[in-house]
């Protein structure tokens, strides 16, 4: 084909008629209308595909042996166009979760509390950093860490014995916990605790912070091991829940009886909500499912469930045990003295690596690298497997680390600040707060209901948009053969979280003892669990862990602490734990309700036939 007819109309290409027609058109200046229209719309051109490919490799005899595919070279503009949808979609994914929450907090402060947000530029920048950080982090997770999970999950159970696999699962649990973005929020919360008022809480979050995360990680690891055994042997979740809750609740009651320990209960129960995030769930599950598949136990639908539940309950027990240990070796006076000594020593400017923003970067690297090294060692030393697409994986790991660092910076300047200031301002509505001239802004009852409404809507809004919840909803609908609609689940979970956060706020306002709320909540949930069917129990208990993502956790945590500071509560923890128990109860209730309704419909349909209903129902 010659270059001249490259841009002729498609059907004119090989037709002699068309050629003579074009010649005629050039001479007379008359054109076909259709060609005119094509010239407006760009038209079509045809090029032989051979022209785009290279000259193939030939052997000595001139036969073609191999086609050559060259790596195409792109101009910067083309690369920009290639990446434009890729970047904008990932940006929008994160933007959609951060923006509505931030807008809500700002608008509420403006409209009801008549306060402008302080440092608004810093917070906007921080929120942007959160969005960018999560964008990099999630993409890096997909490119760099998930391939490890898939390869290890598929090969490890076949190559190693069960005890080895379980030990590695335990270690993996520790690694993923360190890499969880929300964990840094927990550490950050420690800076605001007054040592004189809650010495053990202060000790856990400061001097013992590393041990705390380690204990939480080990608990997640144990949960992953138990969850994996559950996949293998098909255990029911119900007895596991009873067996876990019994010691955890007893420890809670024991700690609650000692006033110094009771102040750390909120922290212990909040860690459960922090642990199950975007790193833990997929990595631990892929290993568990791989083990079940290698043992010939296929994906039974339910097998993905339960681990999340255990991974949010076990850390509570772990933290409580650590608390008892710390209490047995240190007295409150010792902690206070040590803290004062440390403060005196730290009055000089901290070293560069202890200051923001290098602190965030160092902690970002420290969070990811151990997990990567661990996964790498398992893969190369134990399995002797090669990873496909190495360069892509290295890029992904780099993305994960960059994302974690940017996210940590955003956490400090964006989410924590915004949540803290919102939490600090809300009490202005109903009580006198130092520094606000016309506080309280409203009559006590009005202001209090406004604050509770604020918390309720925040909880509902933050949950209803959570993408993980949508996925859980789809699974739940399939599991229950459509009895439990996705919409029902999303509404139930959101309502549960909303009431949970409102209750948590009530706890802070009136300084209610958390132990009663926890006991009442979990005992109710236990009672409901006994009468519910296995599917609903799995969905309901897992929904608690699913709802608390890397944005909600820091925001709610910071809000609680800011709120606690303003209302002079001893500590600002506990909101997240209430937000965890809320959805368990609402989902179990709505599960029972939908079962009751289906049953009622079935009975209504059967009423005309009277004689054998009883027996037929038994068999159905």
């Amino acid at each position: 084909m010659s270059a001249t007819n490259l841009f002729a109309g498609t059907e004119g290409l090989h037709s002699p008629v068309a050629h003579s027609y074009h010649a005629a058109a050039r001479m007379t200046g008359r054109y076909r209308y259709i060609n005119f229209q094509r010239s407006l719309g760009g038209g079509a051109a045809a090029v032989s595909a051979r022209l785009l490919s290279q000259e193939p490799e030939r052997d000595a005899a001139g036969r073609i042996v191999r086609l050559r595919t060259a790596r195409p070279s792109f101009t910067p503009r083309e690369i920009a166009r290639l990446f434009q949808p890729y970047v904008s979609q990932r940006f929008l994914d994160q933007f959609k979760t951060v923006a509505p929450l931030a807008a809500y907090l700002v608008l509420f402060q403006l409209l009801f509390l008549r306060q402008l947000v302080q440092d608004s530029w810093l917070i906007t920048g921080g929120l942007l950093a959160v969005i960018l950080g999560l964008m990099f982090f999630m993409e890096g997770l997909k490119l760099g860490l998930m391939p490890f999970g898939t390869v290890i999950g598929a090969t490890l159970p076949r190559k190693s014995s069960l005890p080895v696999v379980l030990i590695l699962t335990l270690l993996l649990g520790i690694g993923v916990t360190f890499a969880e973005p929300a964990i840094s929020a927990l550490k950050m919360a420690g800076q605001n605790v007054a040592v004189e008022r809650a010495p053990y809480l202060y000790a856990l979050l400061n001097d013992w912070a590393g041990t705390l995360v380690l204990v939480v990680g080990a608990s997640v690891g144990v949960a992953a091991v138990v969850g994996t055994l559950r996949f293998l042997y098909g255990w029911s979740l119900k007895p596991l829940i009873y067996l876990t809750l019994a010691p955890v609740l007893s420890l809670t009651v024991y700690a609650a009886l000692r006033p110094e320990l009771a102040k750390a209960l909120g922290l212990a129960w909040d860690t459960g909500a922090v642990t199950t995030g975007p790193v833990t769930v997929p990595l631990v599950l892929s290993l568990g499912i791989g083990i079940a598949a290698a043992a010939g136990k296929g994906d039974s639908g339910l097998s993905g469930f339960g681990t999340v539940t255990l991974a949010s309950l076990f850390p509570v027990g772990g933290v409580l045990l650590l608390l008892l240990y710390v209490a047995s070796i240190l007295s409150p006076e010792q902690i206070i003295a040590a803290a004062h000594a440390a403060q005196a020593a730290a009055s000089s400017t901290p070293a560069w690596y202890q200051r923001s923003p290098s602190l965030e970067i160092v902690s970002g690297i420290r969070a990811i690298l151990p997990l990567v090294v661990f996964l790498f060692l398992v893969l190369s030393a134990l399995l002797r497997e090669k990873l496909p697409h190495r360069s892509e994986i290295f890029l992904g790991i780099a993305f994960t680390i960059i994302g974690m660092c940017i996210f940590n910076i955003g956490l400090t300047y964006g989410l924590s600040k915004l949540g803290g200031s919102a939490g600090g301002l809300v009490p202005v509505a109903f009580m006198e707060v130092a520094g606000f001239a016309d506080s309280p802004l409203y009559v006590y009852a009005v202001g209090l209901s406004l604050a509770l409404l604020f918390a309720w809507v925040l909880g509902f809004g933050a949950t209803v948009a959570e993408p993980a919840l949508n996925a859980l909803g789809i699974t739940a609908e399939q599991l229950t053969n459509g009895v439990f609609k996705k919409r029902t689940l999303i509404l139930a979970v959101s309502t549960g979280v909303a009431f949970g956060i409102a209750l948590g706020l009530l706890k802070l306002i009136f300084d209610l003892p958390l132990v009663y709320m926890i006991l009442a909540g979990y005992l109710l949930a236990l009672a409901l669990t006994v009468v519910s069917s296995e599917e609903f129990v799995n969905v309901a208990w897992d929904s608690a862990g699913v709802t608390t993502g890397p944005i909600t956790v820091p925001l709610v945590l910071a809000m609680g602490l800011g709120f606690g500071n303003a209302t002079h509560a001893v500590e600002g923890f506990g909101i997240l734990s209430m937000a965890s128990i809320g959805p368990i109860i609402t989902v179990l209730l709505s599960g029972l309700w939908s079962r009751y309704r289906t049953g009622a419909q079935a009975r209504a349909a059967r009423t005309p036939i009277t004689a054998n209903i009883k027996t037929s129902e038994v068999f159905l």
């Binding site: 498609t10 719309g41 079509a44 595919t69 790596r71 195409p72 792109f74 083309e78 690369i79 166009r81 290639l82 990446f83 949808p85 890729y86 993409e139 490119l143 697409h389 360069s391 892509e392 890029l395």
Partner: protein
């Protein structure tokens, strides 16, 4: 006439291979210019990601394959609509090809059949 098969000739199948999630846009564009409908297959592509090296992270392996059968006379109209709506002219936008179909058999409504026979 009940056991005779009526074949339709002069039909073209447009097959578009696009990144997952775009198929609905394509089908909507095709239907907007009058195509009757199409099929969407879920598929996984290989090649582009590997060929591009690190740039390949922008290319998802998950693909959707759309099949639309149109009368050959109108193939350009539908193709244009699809290329524009689906962004097939952009890097990473996917590709399409046209296949001439020898014949197509399906149920033809009686009214249409009567019109065809009257036209003979």
């Amino acid at each position: 006439m009940s056991d005779t098969i009526t074949y339709l000739t002069d039909a073209t199948m447009i097959t578009a291979v696009v990144p997952a999630g775009r198929a609905d846009d394509l089908l909507k564009a095709a239907r907007d210019v009058g195509a009757s409908g199409g099929i969407v297959h879920q598929a996984r592509g290989t090649g582009a990601r590997e060929l591009l090296g690190l740039l390949g992270i922008a290319v998802e392996a998950e693909r959707e394959v759309v099949n639309i059968v149109v009368p050959t006379d109108y193939q350009e109209l539908v193709t244009n609509a699809i290329v524009h709506a689906g962004g097939l002219g952009k890097p990473g936008g996917g590709y399409l090809y046209l296949t001439a179909l020898e014949k197509v058999a399906t149920y033809i409504p009686e009214a249409s059949m009567a019109r065809l026979q009257a036209g003979d």
